[in-house]
Amino acid sequence: MRGEILRALNAERAARRPAILVTDIAEGTQRLVTAEALAGDPLAPLLRKALASGRSGLVEAEGRTHFLTVQVPPVRLVVIGAVHISQALVPMAAALDLALTVIDPRTAFASPERFPGTELAAEWPDRALGGRVPPLDPYCALAALTHDPKIDDPALQAALRAGCFYVGALGSRKTHAARLARLAEAGFSEAETARIRAPIGLDIGAATPAEIALSVLGEIVQALRRPGDQA
């Protein structure tokens, strides 16, 4: 492997950008394909599939065997609201290997006693994101769970602007209609706000906070593994 390819691969990872190292295992020749360059690559359809699955592996193309080293940034879950559902979410997200951060400016809610061992930011979302919490990006999921537009709205706006692969918001259909009107007022198009999943979570009849947490995580996994499947 040429030193510059390794450096570029490490740089892409440090910047949380996806990339695939393509190695012809018979010849030993290699190239690094970044997300931007993917469309122009001769193996584009195979590479796109590999990126979606996030898994490295061998592929056959035009009589040659290539190994794809797939590098996808680890997924982060940002939860707005240190509420009961969030408490149930913490251990479930850990089981799924999701890095989770809870943001809530209400210090009575965002307390280490209520969230032991959890990454917590007792700040307004627009202040926390890009500050104490790394900025959102396409490999982040955001779940807005406070029911309070003052707290949820700025976070949802940040998530839409950052292109988070999952944006969900708690609230009834009526609450969501009012939310959509506010976002339209703030300049977001219908296509943009249609990306918000509300009412949040897969429709499994969730009744308790833990069940709602499960339905939200199920929806996040679906958005990650089967993009384009949005209900």
Binding site: M1, L6, T23, R55, S56, G57, F67, T69, P74
Partner: protein, 107 residues
Amino acid sequence: MLSSDTDILAAAEAWRRAGRGVALATVIETWGSAPRPVGSHLVIDEAGSFLGSVSGGCVEGAVIADALDVIAEGKPRILEFGVADETAWRVGLSCGGRIRVYVERVD
């Protein structure tokens, strides 16, 4: 897996930058109950120091020996390990799986 692989590729770059001869081993194929998934890395330097894992310890010694040759010669090679090997008791996978490992020099 993701975070540890991060450290391994970063180490490969740092070791090379420090002027050490470096090889990178990558699991490219597994059959059966292989201990480490496809894409797992092991980085080796010319002195035999290593970081990471391709088999959870079963065949690392053999991979390192080949990696030292690859560092000297510069030509990548593909290694295969499994219980069916003659050398199963020395460098086989006791779990019953089989793996193929690609070893390349970092230039």
